[in-house]
């Protein structure tokens, strides 16, 4: 009986010591984190970091470097994170300038991804070049493709050449019409911007206004899941909007969401669809 009591006594002491040790090391004097990685940053600091990467990209047009920097933040889809941040800035602070900078990098990433996915046509040998027995193109020129003289960003591995954003040629209006689609769920003004080959064009700035009211700005490509050239604006029924593509000097007036009816006779608000494209 005496022996059993002694054993419990010791166990109590051990548990008490353990608890005190854990409380001290977790609550009173926890390990101080220094020398951390950007992916551990608080979300508002990640926003600042992302914005800085976008601004730096705008300054140096170095997409591989921007990609390597974005990778440090650990975003699952960096292009989507940039687009979401741009949308948040537009909605919360109306900071069009920063939103555009973020959208530009998002668009460049998406374009680069498409370029990487598109198989290049097999090159036909030009005079002075020979096809080897294995069918590969042999050329005397240097084809290393590495960007020499570049400081590696922490964690950077990519050595792809820089993608320089191109200035878009002006857009022309292809179609502008009311649509009745009950699956959309809400009245939208949808814009689809395509190039001469029918590919979506991201990063196109669009200004929407109600007559003399201040314009609101939005961009194509901020919802990449719906297409790179896609943008939409939640419209209010009964109002007449006008949409402008400032870079192209294109103005589309008299945009109104239509009143529609389902097959069962239920009423709902439709949407407005606008297709703009580069002339061939």
């Amino acid at each position: 009986m005496e022996q059993n009591r002694g054993n419990w006594y010791l166990l109590t002491g051990l548990i008490l010591g353990l608890v005190m040790g854990i409380v001290y090391s977790w609550v009173i004097a926890p390990v101080k984190e220094v020398d951390t990685h950007p992916n551990l940053l608080r979300s508002d600091y990640k926003d600042i970091y992302r914005e800085l990467i976008s601004r730096a990209y705008q300054a140096n047009n170095n997409l591989p470097r921007a990609e390597a920097r974005l990778e440090l933040l650990g975003d699952e889809d960096p292009a989507l994170s940039l687009a979401a941040q741009a949308q948040r800035y537009l909605a919360e602070s109306g900071d069009n300038q920063t939103a555009k900078i973020l959208a530009n990098l998002s668009a460049a990433l998406q374009q680069a991804a498409i370029t990487a996915e598109t198989p290049l046509p097999a090159p036909s040998p030009s005079p002075g070049e020979n096809l080897s027995s294995s069918g590969t193109l042999e050329s005397s020129s240097d084809s290393s493709g590495t960007a020499a003289g570049r400081t590696p960003t922490p964690g950077e591995e990519s050595t792809e050449p820089t993608l320089t954003p191109t200035n878009s040629p002006p857009f022309i209006l292809q179609d502008s019409s009311a649509i009745c689609d009950p699956t959309l769920g809400e009245p939208l003004i949808q814009v689809i911007a395509t190039d001469g080959e029918g590919e979506g064009v991201p990063g196109v700035g669009l200004e929407i206004s109600l007559g003399a009211d201040p314009k609101e700005v939005f961009y194509t490509g901020l919802k990449p899941e719906l297409g790179l050239g896609y943008a939409d604006y939640l419209a209010e029924p009964g109002l007449t909007y006008q949409l402008e593509v400032p870079d192209s000097g294109l103005l589309i007036p008299d945009i109104e969401v239509p009143s529609c009816q389902t097959e069962e006779g239920d009423s709902y608000w439709g949407s407005w669809e606008i297709y703009i494209t580069h002339p061939n």
Binding site: L18, V23, P30
Partner: protein
């Protein structure tokens, strides 16, 4: 050995085990760190980004504002630390130039 002495020895053993567990085996994990906590190579890259933008836009107020977020004693210290690391890590000359350019611009205002 008395019961109390044994109790204290075992409790100290538990305390030691608890500290090892809390500090080494399973320390508190921080997910919400600040720019100040970044490792020196990331801080240097952050400063380089500010320098890249400053070189293009020439907006020193904006650059100082961004450098202040690193919470070093001064923005000049941030750039000096970055220059020191960049030199050790053998950054390229254009990048070193950008950092020096920002460093000189800040120094002129002080």
């Amino acid at each position: 050995m008395s019961r109390w002495t044994l109790f204290l020895i075992v409790m100290l053993l538990g305390l030691g085990l608890g500290l090892v567990y809390g500090w080494v085996i399973n320390p508190v994990s921080y997910q919400d760190t600040t720019l100040h906590d970044l490792r020196i190579d990331y801080k240097t890259d952050y400063t380089l980004m500010v320098a890249e933008v400053y070189h293009q836009e020439n907006d020193l107020d904006w650059a100082l504002n961004r450098l202040t977020l690193l919470k070093d004693p001064s923005p000049l210290t941030s750039v000096e630390n970055a220059l020191k690391f960049a030199s050790q890590a053998e950054y390229t000359l254009p990048d070193m130039f950008l950092l020096r350019d920002l460093h000189n611009a800040i120094k002129e205002t002080n």
